[in-house]
Symmetry: C2
Subunit: 256 residues, 2 copies
């Protein structure tokens, strides 16, 4: 009995996977009582390969409707195939709006959440009076003209280590609301405004509240310098509205 | 009686519109007996503004599942509002996957199909073993590695005025199968291969058969030089398969 257990233990691998998904039809990443989530679909799909449900360890969660091209998770299990076959196998089971992009057996100590050093999100705004059907699933359309220079000036004041309490959704319990924004850029190409933000971690709704606030600045409802005051005030009510989820995409999780 | 008719006639405008749509849920552009088409949705939507159904004149048709960012049509009618209000009005009626991008009252003689000088299409291939959920609606995934240099060499032999009979779908009746391809490029960025083709006109399925043939070349099933023979042979059976519609997008219709 002991021997066979030991043998089984030997074949347990810690596998790191990178994930892309269209979040449109999901109630977010993390398993919850009601509604289909990315995590529940993943675990059910892996159960078909493993013969039992094994929890995945995600680098983090994304809100309902948010997308990802570089979400990362790890899973420790006795996979009956090598990494290459596992990649093909899991994608043949997953629905069309979720795909594993890469599979790599890593050190047993690797933990997708604890080891994550930074994350990068992208938020896409279509600044146009007219809709763009082909971008509707992955962008927020703002019909009022936005002043991108002002948005950029405001963005600069958020870079660095700050207490981002004003940019955190309600009903969130965290040890500290201090985060370090490594980079925050606003770029415009035609009607498309792309906000890229990299930080050592994010509070609940943080990117979406930042974008909602930058849009207020772009509209002229808030001065670029006012964002510094919003930050200092540590009051959610002073920041802009939470931008809708479908414009947001988790681009990359960094481990170096 | 005559007088009021004349007055009514005075307010008839010929309006040119540029159209974007996600073709996923439509049975193509042109009205047909069964299934919902872009044209039927447009005409029903304009009827809500005009009080009656008025046919639109399209620059051309697209197949079921094909998208557009720059389709052009014109419509002659007595619109009860100016161009700016018409743009807002029609977009408030149209479903989320169809949008009018611009509205312009033009000369009465303008005819979207007859006056079109050229059209540009884009075809997107994702050359990867793994799916890309966020690009699935607008690209064709080819898992086998493709040699883009060979595809480019083959593409060159198609540029210019040729009889494209081998690259035309069956059951198509046209006066002539001669068309002039002004430009045909193949570009690769990461796993994304973009085929852009501009011509004075296109035969049924022409872009999709060209792409299907270029993919055969990329796979190594057909030599780049073989495409010239396919062209000369004027036999549909010698060309590659018809690439799926969802990778195709009508980008622009030119009138100069």
């Amino acid at each position: 009995m002991k021997k066979s257990r030991e043998r089984a233990a030997h074949t347990i691998r810690n596998v790191k996977m990178v994930l892309e998904y269209d979040g449109t039809n999901y109630c977010g990443f993390q398993t919850q009582k009601n509604g289909v989530t990315i995590q529940s679909v993943l675990e059910k799909s892996f159960a078909k390969i493993l013969g039992k449900r094994v929890p995945i360890i995600a680098s983090g969660r994304t809100d309902a409707g948010v997308h990802a091209v570089g979400h990362v998770f790890n899973i420790k299990a006795e996979f009956p195939m090598d990494d290459g076959r596992l990649l093909m196998g899991i994608n043949s089971i997953l629905p069309g709006d979720i795909a594993v992009k890469s599979v790599k057996t890593v050190d047993k100590s690797f933990h997708a959440r604890r080891d994550a050093k930074w994350k990068r999100y992208r938020y896409v705004i279509i600044n146009s009076k007219v809709p763009s059907p082909l971008q509707a699933r992955t962008s927020w359309r703002v019909p009022v003209p936005l002043d991108v220079k002002k948005m950029r000036d405001a963005a600069k004041t958020l870079v660095g280590e700050h207490d981002f309490r004003s940019f955190m959704g309600k009903r969130s319990s965290v040890k500290t609301t201090v985060r370090n924004i490594i980079s925050l850029t606003v770029k415009k190409t035609g009607a498309r405004i792309v906000v890229d933000v990299t930080a050592n971690g994010f509070l609940k709704y943080m990117v979406r509240i930042i974008v909602g606030t930058l849009v207020e600045v772009g509209k002229g409802s808030l001065l670029p310098g006012g964002v510094k005051k919003v930050l200092a005030g540590k009051e959610r009510a002073n920041a802009g509205p939470t931008a809708p989820p479908h414009g947001l995409c988790l681009v990359e999780v960094g481990y170096e």
